[in-house]
């Protein structure tokens, strides 16, 4: 990989990766909250 400013492709790769990581984390937390809510609510 070349140094210097990231290319357009690298920027898109980074953006998609961050979105997907956040999605996975949101599902993890969301499901725990949902389960607690449903089983004790």
């Amino acid at each position: 990989m070349s140094a210097g400013a990231p290319s357009e492709q690298q920027r898109r790769v980074r953006r998609t990766t961050i979105m997907l990581v956040l999605l996975a984390l949101a599902i993890y937390v969301g499901f725990i909250v949902l389960t607690v809510h449903r089983s004790h609510g």
Binding site: Q9, R12, V13, T16, T17, L20, V21, L23, A24, L25, I27, Y28, V29, F31, I32, T35, V36, R38, S39, H40
Partner: protein, 538 residues
């Protein structure tokens, strides 16, 4: 050999460290693909030897060799090893090897994460298998981890939970890598609807993985805190709800079974056109059918829990939504058959395994439909009928297509043809024995034999003996597979770039064996479509 355009690529060739360090530190998609495939192969034999132990104990009624707790560990760890250790890593390995080649990318988009996600797996499975040597023995509550039973496990319980977290993290990273690669790294002109179906089915599988692996992680985290930190998410005595675990688990679990089978649909959609010498019938319909199966897989989970006492409306909803899956699945089977119709068929080993898939996976689909009928499932639930169902969809489904994929691309990977005669033996022995092994289990289940038991009533003796004989035959036949693969790695007739005359796709434009670096300059699809040469060999 040289690229059509760049001289720069020359410098990269063979720039790899040697020895162990190469494999520990590699970020090359082909190396990592190979690592995943080797790991999957090892776990296939680890899980397979446990299956042999199970069939040995069940050969005759009465307790012969094992104590019951160890038997339960065998079924539990067999399933975990096969699902998370063999089938899923095999698909990720094939994705690593083939997706960059097929979409014209130089590598996966996130090569260092790729290395990390692979190397988590040996740690995860070491933790899981250490369970056999700790007080209380390996996990024995079933791969479904239902509380309260699973909370009664010994010291292996936290090890297993941690192992599941690691494999989950590994699969999520693998899935992110696949999506990011496909969405951002395709060669110009490789539009979404020109992608090979293996790439399409993997893209959809990767979304399923990201959607449900965190759900499993959440569920096992809650088990862990219930066990060690005094919470009672799933414990009725503390105000929690054990049935809630089943809902959360199967919200993961049903999409999980499609994670195991969707890439298989991709392989079949590559292999059947090649050996029929015809383009795939209904390409777009295949893409949409895959997407609808993936969508439906999120709304059918409670068909695994018909007997827990749901309201009638729930039983009906999950029964009917489950039956809907038969429609897109039928579209697929129709399209594969239509692809072969009037094709000029030949029966090389990859094609043979895919044809067996077509027939035997359908048997599994039909028993699935039977199980989906809620009132009937009250009878079938937790019997060997369920065991027969899921082994028909998983062994001739996922395992056969993984074998087909290896026999399809092995010459591309190694540069050598393999021993076709032996591979055909591998096919015939596998296909005969898989039926001897699993078909009688339908009869046993319908007659009422429960699953997950080390002993059984004498009226089940005959078919269990047949099934065990089939099991030993199947297990022994699989020893041919590593023999054929290793022999092929060591040498053999030289493979052409386009190994099979009917094969289409970018992977066949690069020489065999595929060089360490490929598509550093994106291929031009225009050149390929006009029949031009893309690679030239010195």
């Amino acid at each position: 050999m040289a690229y059509s355009a760049t001289a720069e690529s020359h410098e990269h060739h063979d720039h790899k460290p040697s020895g162990l360090w190469r494999w520990l530190s590699t970020t090359n998609h082909k190396d990592i693909g190979t690592l995943y495939l080797i790991f999957a192969g090892v776990m296939f034999f680890v899980g397979g030897s446990m299956a042999m132990v199970i069939r040995l104990e069940l050969f005759k009624p009465g307790m012969q060799f094992l104590d019951p707790a160890f038997f339960n560990s065998m079924t539990t760890v067999h399933a975990l090893a096969m699902i998370f250790g063999a089938v899923m890593p095999a698909w990720v390995g094939l994705a690593n090897w083939m997706i960059p080649l097929q979409v014209g990318a130089p590598d996966m988009a996130l090569p260092r994460m790729n290395n990390f996600s692979f190397w988590l797996l040996p740690f995860a499975f070491t933790l899981l298998l250490i369970g056999f040597f700790v007080p209380g023995g390996a996990p024995a509550g079933g791969w479904t981890l239902y509380p309260p039973l699973v909370l009664q496990g010994g010291d292996s319980f936290p090890l297993a939970i941690f192992a599941i977290h690691l494999m989950g993290a590994s699969s999520i990273m693998g899935a992110i890598n696949v999506i990011v690669t496909i969405m951002n790294m395709r060669a110009p002109g490789m539009t979404l609807l020109r992608m090979p179906l293996f790439v399409w089915t993997w893209l959809i599988t990767a979304y399923l993985l990201i959607a449900v692996m965190p759900v499993l992680a959440g569920a096992v985290t809650m088990l862990l805190t219930d066990h060690f930190f005094g919470t009672s998410f799933f414990s009725a005595s503390g105000g929690g709800d054990p049935v809630m675990f089943q809902h959360v688990f199967w919200f993961f679990g049903h999409p999980e079974v499609y994670i195991l089978i969707l890439p298989a649909f991709g392989i079949v959609s590559e292999v059947i056109p090649t050996f029929s010498r015809k383009p795939l019938f209904g390409y777009e319909a295949m893409v949409y059918a895959t997407a609808s199966i993936a969508f439906l897989s999120f709304i059918v989970w409670a068909h695994h829990m018909f007997t827990v006492g749901m309201p009638l409306a729930g039983e009906l909803f999950f029964m009917l939504s489950t039956m809907l899956i038969a429609i897109p699945t039928g579209v697929k089977v129709f399209n594969w058959s239509a692809t072969m119709w009037k094709g000029s068929l030949t029966f090389e080993p990859p094609m043979l395994f895919c044809l067996a898939f077509l027939f035997l996976f359908s048997i599994g689909g039909f028993s699935g439909l039977m199980l989906a009928i809620a009132p009937a499932d009250f009878q079938y639930q937790d019997t060997y009928f369920v065991v027969a169902h899921f082994h028909y969809v998983l062994v001739p489904g996922s395992i056969f297509t993984i074998i087909a994929a290896v026999y399809y691309w092995l010459p591309k990977w190694t540069g050598h043809m393999y021993d076709m005669t032996l591979a055909k033996w591998h096919f015939w022995l596998s296909t005969i024995f898989v039926n001897v092994l699993f078909f009688p289990q339908h009869f046993l289940g319908l007659a009422g034999m429960p699953r997950r038991i080390p002993d059984y009533a004498t009226q089940f003796a005959d078919w269990n003996m047949v099934s065990s004989i089939g099991g030993f035959g199947f297990g022994l036949s699989q020893l041919l597979f590593p023999y054929i693969v290793i022999k092929c790695i060591r040498g053999g007739e030289k493979a052409a770039a386009r190994v099979w005359e009917g094969a289409h796709g970018l992977e066949w434009e690069v020489p065999s064996p595929a060089p360490y670096h490929t598509w550093e300059t994106a291929p031009s699809l225009a050149v390929i479509h006009s029949g031009g040469e893309h690679w030239t060999e010195d």
